[in-house]
Symmetry: C2
């Protein structure tokens, strides 16, 4: 083994970058043993040098000049730990072109520009590692690309957004509203000041997109599959689901059915006897099914400083010892080799949960069940409790009605849904969620 140090730089000393620096500095001996040579943090690039940080870097390491990294030919690996596309995309290309390998946790960049940066890295003989970009500290990328390599992966069902899972857990376990749960999540650092990308399903959908490309070699754009967030849910939805024996999770699903790919990321009712129903707080949980290995479940922290840093440093060791240079060129990523069609969304077949607020008067239930029946949707169960809300401006009291359907197609369900929307006996909110069976 060579004992010359491996020079690395971190671009972006936010939460994750600081966590990585802590491991490299505080655990230098262990890192040297694992890498076979010392790992030397030569530069750490920040935007604002004056900001106080929770880590003391050796003199000369901190800089606000990204060029000092790109132009330093002794730096072999860059840990690019900044979010967003701009300027992260340009920086990544320039880092690769300067002959360095890249480790990143930026899933938005991979989702939007992955094809371009991967192509460029392959042309240049460099590698891009991104274990931390999906499910943080959970070894998901490694499992999909290496451990399950003998399999045809036939399904992925995953809770990939820790913020949403925390909010749903908080709402149900503390009987709080969505707004209050978001506030708590922001206070303890699980949600950003603007949590839109987490709670509207974008983050989970981006991660599912990366997983599907890795597992199946299929490139799917975000607008090609159903995506819905938890931001339209109420505590009542979680409570009715529980009454029926289900838990609501933001579930990302991709599965092969007769050679077609069913794919969606939506709040979903999961039966309480399914292991995916039991993951609390900001944890992620993923069920992978391979045609040889059967089902494998992985769970752990999908975000957070040290969990994400742990995945980044594991990738750094992969680069240092040469495993990444072997694995990266073989990844089944952004090269759509397999002839898998996306199942049209109207053909997706599932059961559905509906929560409606309806006028408490004759014929209402008949009107609603007629609409469903006309679209060949049969009712599996129905819950109507006595009126909790009385709106005095209305002619009739308003009562909540919860319906679980038997299996139907998304197409039929949407058609029925639109007709229900037009009924004047139904008041907002009208919540619709699929059921995972």
């Amino acid at each position: 083994m060579s004992s010359s140090p491996l020079n690395v730089a971190i671009i972006g000393m936010g939460t994750v970058g600081s966590g990585v620096a802590k491991i490299l500095l505080n655990r230098a001996e262990q890192m040297t043993a694992r890498a076979g040579r010392p790992i030397h943090l030569k530069r750490a690039v920040v935007r604002d040098l004056s900001r106080t940080r929770d880590i003391n870097l050796p003199a000369g390491v901190l800089t606000d000049d990204v060029e000092s990294v790109i132009n330093d030919s002794t730096i072999e690996v860059v840990l690019q730990l900044v979010g967003g596309i701009d300027p992260a995309y340009d920086i990544m290309l320039r880092v690769l072109e300067s002959g360095k390998d890249v480790i990143t946790a930026n899933k938005a960049l991979l989702c939007e520009k992955g094809e371009l940066v991967f192509q460029r890295a392959k042309e240049l003989g460099r590698c891009i590692c991104f274990e931390a970009a999906v499910a943080g500290g959970v070894p998901l990328i490694e499992t999909v690309t290496q451990a399950m390599t003998a399999n045809q992966i036939i399904s992925i069902e995953a809770i990939l957004n820790g913020t949403s899972n925390y909010i749903l857990t908080e709402m149900f376990s503390h009987n709080t509203s969505y707004a209050d749960a978001v506030r708590t999540a922001q206070e303890i650092g699980y949600a950003e000041a603007d949590p839109a990308m987490d709670v509207d399903g974008t983050d989970a959908a981006q991660k599912l997109g990366i997983l599907v490309q890795l597992a199946l070699g299929v490139k799917v754009n975000l607008d090609q599959f159903l995506r819905q967030g938890i931001d339209s849910l109420s505590l009542a939805d979680l409570q009715y689901a529980d009454e029926l024996g289900y838990t609501v999770k933001l579930l990302a699903v991709a599965k092969l059915l007769d050679g077609q790919l069913e794919m969606h990321a939506q709040p979903t009712l999961i039966r309480n006897d399914n292991p995916l129903a039991h993951v609390e707080d900001a944890y992620n949980k993923i069920a992978l099914e391979g045609d040889a290995v059967g089902k494998v479940w992985l769970s752990g922290m999908g975000a957070g400083q040290m969990a994400t840093a742990s995945a980044v440093v594991a990738n750094l060791i992969d680069v240092a010892v040469g495993r990444a240079a072997i694995t990266f060129p073989r990844l089944n990523l952004w090269n759509s080799s397999q002839n898998i069609q996306i199942l049209p969304r109207e053909d997706i077949s599932r059961r559905y949960f509906l929560r409606l607020n309806v006028e408490d008067r004759p014929h209402v239930l008949a009107d609603i069940t007629n609409v469903l029946g006309n679209h060949e949707i049969s009712i599996a169960s129905l819950v109507q409790h006595e009126a909790p809300e009385v709106d005095e401006t209305e002619n009739y009291p308003i009562v909540p009605l919860v319906i679980m359907t038997h299996r139907t197609t998304e197409g039929q369900f949407q058609a029925a849904s639109r007709e229900l929307d037009a009924l004047d006996c139904i008041r907002a909110p009208f919540v619709r969620m699929p059921v995972n069976d």
Copy 2:
């Protein structure tokens, strides 16, 4: 990439060997893509050529001559899928010495002769891969050695024996006796005709031994830690545990406490809100805790033909592409580098569950609680139902008494246990299990 085929041989065409052959033959195109060159199954060595098999091998592949593999210099990798030590140990050494890499699922051999075969492989510049030896299709070895490399692993809590877990699940969910559940497990192929190694805790202890060496670099012999099987449990134990809010699992535990290693593999009460309590049938589940990543849970089939074959073939791809040659020499295995002491078993601190059958007469409870009190063991909860068993040969009816203690040491508990054994008011069976908190 070279396109010359990689010649491999399988030694042992039992369940797993046949599963591996199925993947190599039926999925040749996928394997070629993953390995970067064709994988050619050149030989499959069996003891009895006349036996019928559930797979058709190409002409000339099947042989009963192990020498035809060892002496064939064109064979680069041997999948050694036979159990036991003898002759597997000698064969493995000769395979390594003939310049071939080895992939094995034989944990008994690794546990007993691991130090010797690993040393020899390193001297010869060869590698030994064994993902399938612990937890079958669950990517546990890869997670411990690669994904968690930035961590100090601080605890391993694992359900590693699928047979025992199946039997416990069957007993509790179908209200059957231990003997009946063993028979069912044998009928469906989850238990051997002689299930001793599975149900007496040996198999789980061997796997824990391998994990501890990988995770902590500490060599622990089987006689250095507490090992107990499920073969002394009754349905009543599982039912009383459930009444108290716990599930009984054969749990293998290793954790660092102030630099000392607590280690045991025993039937253990696990609180129902712990994810380890929820793993059914023949599945394995492992909770790993790292000081950076926090807790990571992995779960999947720990045995079975295709799940184990999936792990073997993943290792074969690791060898084919060169990852194994990088990873193996760096494994922290059988080279006791870390200065970790084993916590003496009498110092292990836990809560305990006791189920005693006692005479239903005055002073019995006082006698028992006095013994516990004299050893500073306090009682957390106590269940005594009315006498279900009346033994007419006895002077008094016999009633079951279940006690959960507060935390005490194994030393104090054993001392109290011995005194309780000597009380003439206590009848067999007297079941004792630790509680996992």
